[in-house]
């Protein structure tokens, strides 16, 4: 096999092995690359920054364990920011698998800022059927969630006394591994006029651009980079910034493979042309 053919047909397993090293090594030996903030992330940050102490935010954990790596850094950073502002948080999840994650993150961040359950934040838990839940919250929070995650009646939770419908919600934050933030924007935003900002997996984030440009979602965080940018803005370094080195190296690795493939392709074409000329 000619050299350029080999460049074009690298075995998958070699690519896999290089990828493993490209991610593992920077995690063990960090480099510390700079992070530049995008407008989308700034929009997300500004909407939280503009809230006043006592405002109520609806925070939706719209993901399950499989995308924890990408979205947990955002949830943690956003909740820290909200609690730091003295904002009260009503939290829900649209996924059955999201309850454990939400509970852990809420408890951890609330403890950091000395927030009290039932007064500063509340976790209503999971309600099957997200579309119905989103719409029904517009009619009544307490009817949609008669009890919180721990079985306590929402009528008896002090924070819930101030929440009847979306009118009482200053901002809706959806951290989503699926199209849920779009649905929040379409239904809660479109129909009830709530401002929606979102944190999304990178794959989902690209679909948010039409909504961002149309003003339906005025700010969002895209993938681990979005999380790192936001961690930068709130000035609390976390998992996002830590992962960016591995991210950069892995990207460069992939680009190198693409370059190798293309160089091989051009060499083989030149070789073919030469053969024809002869």
């Amino acid at each position: 096999m000619a050299f350029y053919d080999r460049m074009m047909q690298i075995d998958r397993r070699i690519i896999y092995l290089c990828m493993t090293l490209a991610v593992a090594i920077p995690l063990i030996v960090p480099i510390g690359m700079p992070v530049q903030v995008s407008d989308e992330a700034r929009g997300f940050y500004d909407h939280i920054e503009d809230l006043e102490a006592g405002d109520i935010v609806l925070f939706s954990f719209d993901y399950e364990g499989d995308v924890m790596a990408e979205l947990n850094p955002m949830s943690i950073a956003a909740l820290r920011h909200l609690f730091r502002q003295g904002v009260r948080v009503v939290s829900v999840t649209m996924y059955a698998g999201g309850t454990g994650i939400a509970q852990d993150i809420l408890e951890e961040t609330a403890a950091e800022y000395g927030k009290e359950y039932g007064i500063d934040y509340v976790f209503l838990g999971y309600n099957p059927d997200w579309s119905g839940t989103i719409l029904r919250l517009g009619e009544s929070f307490k009817a949609t969630y008669p009890a919180d995650q721990f079985g306590k009646s929402t009528r008896e939770i002090p924070l819930m006394q101030d929440v009847e419908t979306y009118d009482d919600i200053a901002l809706l934050v959806s951290i989503a591994g699926s199209a849920l933030s779009e649905y929040w924007a379409i239904w809660a935003g479109g129909r009830y006029g709530v401002t929606v900002v979102s944190g999304n997996t990178a794959i989902q984030a690209i679909l948010i651009y039409p909504y961002y440009n149309a003003g339906q979602i005025p700010g969002f965080l895209g993938g681990l980079k979005g999380a790192a940018e936001y961690e930068r803005l709130v000035d609390i370094p976390g998992l996002g910034i830590k992962g960016m080195d591995a991210q950069s190296v892995a990207h460069l690795l992939m680009l190198s493979f693409i370059v190798i493939g293309n160089v091989g392709y051009f060499l083989s074409r030149r070789h073919e042309r030469k053969l024809k000329e002869e």
Binding site: M19, L27, A69, P128, I186, G190, A202, I206, G243
Partner: protein, 206 residues
């Protein structure tokens, strides 16, 4: 190194799944079958109990909202398909299931996916700085030509050929961008798994 047996199980199964990258093997086969069984059980419990208990048992027996019995009736009708002779009965719940949402999505999609998207494509070139006007015009051009790519009623000849070719250019750039953008998300998932292995399990990285 972790002393938690849960972390050990999780770490071993993580490696078992990774082994699929090299080749399909008995360890992976075991992990895959376990995942299917456990997750099928998990979702059966989550959905069956949450639906039948919360949406049927509680409303009917505790709150006396008898109209919710209908959900149980529709659900029971699905079981008719176990006997081929009565399979037609299960078409009723399916018709209900599909049509309820079909009716709901028509106006929502018309509003969000069609009208509002058309609205955001329109702009006033005079009211914008030149750079932005050019960008907006490119968007306009892209939307129009991409849409023409999906015109099925005529052969791609003449102007339609040109416009669908331009549409393909936009589509390809869009796909390239999506691909490139997604790479990041995919890698962060792997970073997450490695953080688990290196930090939670082995304790090499803090």
């Amino acid at each position: 190194m972790s002393a938690d047996p849960g972390i050990w199980v999780a770490a071993i199964l993580t490696l078992a799944i990774f082994s699929f990258l090299y080749r399909e093997n008995p360890v992976f086969r075991f992990a895959e079958h376990l995942l299917v069984g456990v997750s099928a059980g998990y979702y059966l419990v989550q959905y069956f109990f949450s639906a039948v208990y919360r949406k049927l048992y509680v409303p009917v027996f505790d709150n006396h909202e008898y109209i919710l019995i209908m959900g149980g009736v529709l659900g029971a009708m699905m079981f008719a398909r176990l006997w081929r002779k009565y399979e037609w009965v299960s078409r009723y719940p399916i018709a209900f299931y599909v049509a309820a949402w079909a009716g709901y999505v028509i106006p929502s999609y018309v509003q969000v996916r069609i009208l509002q998207q058309a609205e955001s494509t329109m702009f006033n070139p005079m009211a914008l700085p030149p750079a932005e006007a050019i960008s907006n015009f490119i968007i306009f051009l892209g939307v129009v030509t991409t849409l023409s790519y999906f015109y099925f009623s005529a052969e791609r000849k003449g102007p339609l050929k040109i416009s669908s070719h331009v549409g393909v250019i936009f589509i390809m750039i869009g796909f390239g961008a999506t691909f490139g953008y997604n790479v990041m998300g995919r890698i962060s998932l792997l970073i997450g798994r490695f953080q688990f292995l290196l930090t939670d399990w082995l304790g090499i990285v803090q």
